[in-house]
Amino acid sequence: MSGAIVDEVLASPGGDLAVAAASPWQLARRRLLRNRVALVMAALLAVIVALCLCAPLYAHHVAHVDPFQSNLDGTTIVNGKRVPVMVQSTQGLGLGVTPIGPTWDIHHYFLGADEQGRDVAARLLYGGRNSLLIGTAAALITCFLAVLIGVVAGFFGGLVDGVLSRFLDLIWAFPVYLLAISLSTVLIARGISFGPFHLTSGSLLLPIVIIGVVYIPYVARPVRGEVLSIRRREFVEAAIGLGASNWRLLWNEVLPNVITTVIVLFPLMLAIDMLTEAALSFLSIGVQAPQASWGTIILDGQDVLYTRPAVALAPGIAIALTVLALNVLGDGIRDALDPRAKLRRTDAEKQ
């Protein structure tokens, strides 16, 4: 894995073959850039992120709504006519109200309203911000702690490895959803204090930390395995022979070789984290009101599922698209970084 591989043959525009010498990173980037599906998905992801970042812009300047304020008596404009957001029922006794459905008018309740008369389109964008933020932050926490644990366990071995590996096995044996749900239920009502850190109950940090922690074994175990095999490689022995300190071995020899594993796992962890966040929020133990996330909007939509399906459908489609893009991108990155992927590709080209 270390050292330049100089066997990538590129077809030049003229049709003749040119041999390019490049570092593994350059090779990987080149392979990724040739993967059209992955690029399309990366673009889709970029669009979703950009739209979600523009949530306040949309809410204040396009739709002119406050997506966090219930708006039961509000009105909006459909086809030039002013109509109430909550429509009085026309069936039976005429009791109860139904939120307005999608108007497909970008300025007025594009995707309709939820049970509290709030603009679903605006909430979708705000919710997306939280879902993406929680997913990203949790995946970063997972990868950081997992690399720390995996590298220390794999590098030092012995008792340290024994203790850390037992700890990983323990979390691994715990059904991950149950662990996340248990932690969330206990912590969501009261929050938790850890020395100088205080996580209050409504804080987004709570789901971030919980999701980040429960997935540590998923990354730490492969990292530990990788470190175990790297430690026995010649270049590490050479460095030891040159009198390198432990710190230097870790930083210069082990870490750069572990990083590819983490880069491959990161988009996949991000995808899993976003699904977990949605599940926790759907069970009302994730993101707490007044904050929104795609999971909480699906939950809001459950009550009006049969009358106003758009409320639940829209965030689900948003999650599915984002996670799909991340999975495809993750596959592309793995194929680009994994030397064996080349074997698969030439294999495919043969046919």
Binding site: R190, S193, D331, Q351
Partner: protein
């Protein structure tokens, strides 16, 4: 081999013990969390809190409480709920278990058959449009939140098309097999399909890459050189070795699902299985029930883990020494 089995058994007991301690600590010893305050209600005065604490034995030291709880759970088997006082916990779990088992068994049959078919199709036609299509369909299945998919299925079968195509679909809920096998099947068909879609995607992808790798192996080349038909090479040689990873993955997922991992599917389809029981007891913080269901879940996961390891050791002698 016997030594390996014994060692594996000891580690299994150890992991189960650790899980029971960990979950006990999560619920009873998390800083700032007081079960008594939960039981007594939001604005209970000190007097009430003290009475509640004494009544539920919450004023005793943690290790004693842990030991008492485990004794009630495993030895006397008379652990009672905090919320419905007097209601025994273990019958609740044994009542919920058949629902979860029905759901997971049916889904497992569907996902194993479908994913083997899809994985083989993609592996055999690798690099073609068939391969790409199957893999993209699999990825879409992986990317949908299962509870959302369940809602979409409900929207179609219970509301939008319930008047026409899906008029035979019974209302949400579980029909026991002993009461009506056909009703049982009808009530579970859509939950099965919903739950299996995620796993079909994962397993088809795992099987495909295993088959693609196996095609490069020497023994497959040897089999071809012997003049075996392509079909025989695929079924008897490539597929067989490819299934090893598949089977071990299956063991783990099946254990996790039986243990309550199907919670979201159960919640969406109104099935009162173990996952739903866990969730309901979490909602009203019925700690003994939570502890019982978590232990039940952990038991299945740990046993599944151990079985997978044993099968591995049986298949591959090198593992026994590790």
């Amino acid at each position: 081999m016997l030594r390996f089995v014994a060692r594996r058994f000891v580690s299994m007991v150890f992991v189960l013990f650790s899980i029971s301690v960990l979950s006990f600590l999560i619920f009873f010893a998390t800083p700032g969390v007081d079960p008594a305050a939960r039981i007594a209600g939001r604005n209970a005065d000190q007097q009430t809190l003290k009475a509640v604490r004494h009544d539920f034995g919450l004023d005793r030291p943690l290790p004693v409480r842990y030991a008492l709880m485990m004794k009630k759970l495993f030895i006397t088997r008379d652990l009672t709920s905090y919320v419905n006082r007097g209601a025994k916990v273990i019958p609740q779990v044994t009542q919920a278990a058949p629902v979860t088992l029905s759901l997971v068994f049916g889904a497992a049959v569907i996902w194993v058959i479908a994913s083997i078919a899809m994985g083989m199709l993609a592996g055999v036609f690798r690099g073609t449009a068939i391969d790409t299509t199957v893999m993209i369909v699999g990825l879409i299945g992986i990317s949908m939140p299962v509870f959302w998919l369940g809602e979409v299925v409900n929207l179609i079968t219970q509301s939008r098309l319930h008047g026409s195509v899906f008029s035979w679909v019974p209302p949400l809920g579980y029909v026991p097999f002993t009461q009506s096998p056909w009703g049982w099947f009808k009530s579970l068909l859509f939950p099965w399909l919903t739950l299996s879609i995620l796993y079909i995607g994962i397993y088809a992808r795992v099987l495909r890459s295993a088959i693609v790798e196996a095609q490069e192996e020497d023994y497959v080349r040897t089999a071809r050189a012997k003049g075996l038909t392509e079909r025989r090479v695929l079924f008897r040689h490539a597929l067989r070795t490819s299934l090893i990873g598949f089977v071990s993955l299956f063991g783990l997922d099946f254990g996790a699902l039986v243990g309550g991992g199907a919670l979201l599917t159960e919640v969406v389809f109104g099935l009162h299985g173990v996952g739903k029981l866990t969730f309901d007891s979490l909602q009203n913080l019925d700690l003994p029930v939570i502890l019982a269901t978590v232990m039940y879940a952990a038991f299945f996961v740990v046993v599944a883990n151990a079985i997978v390891d044993l099968v591995y050791a049986w298949l591959d002698p090198r593992v026994r020494r590790a």
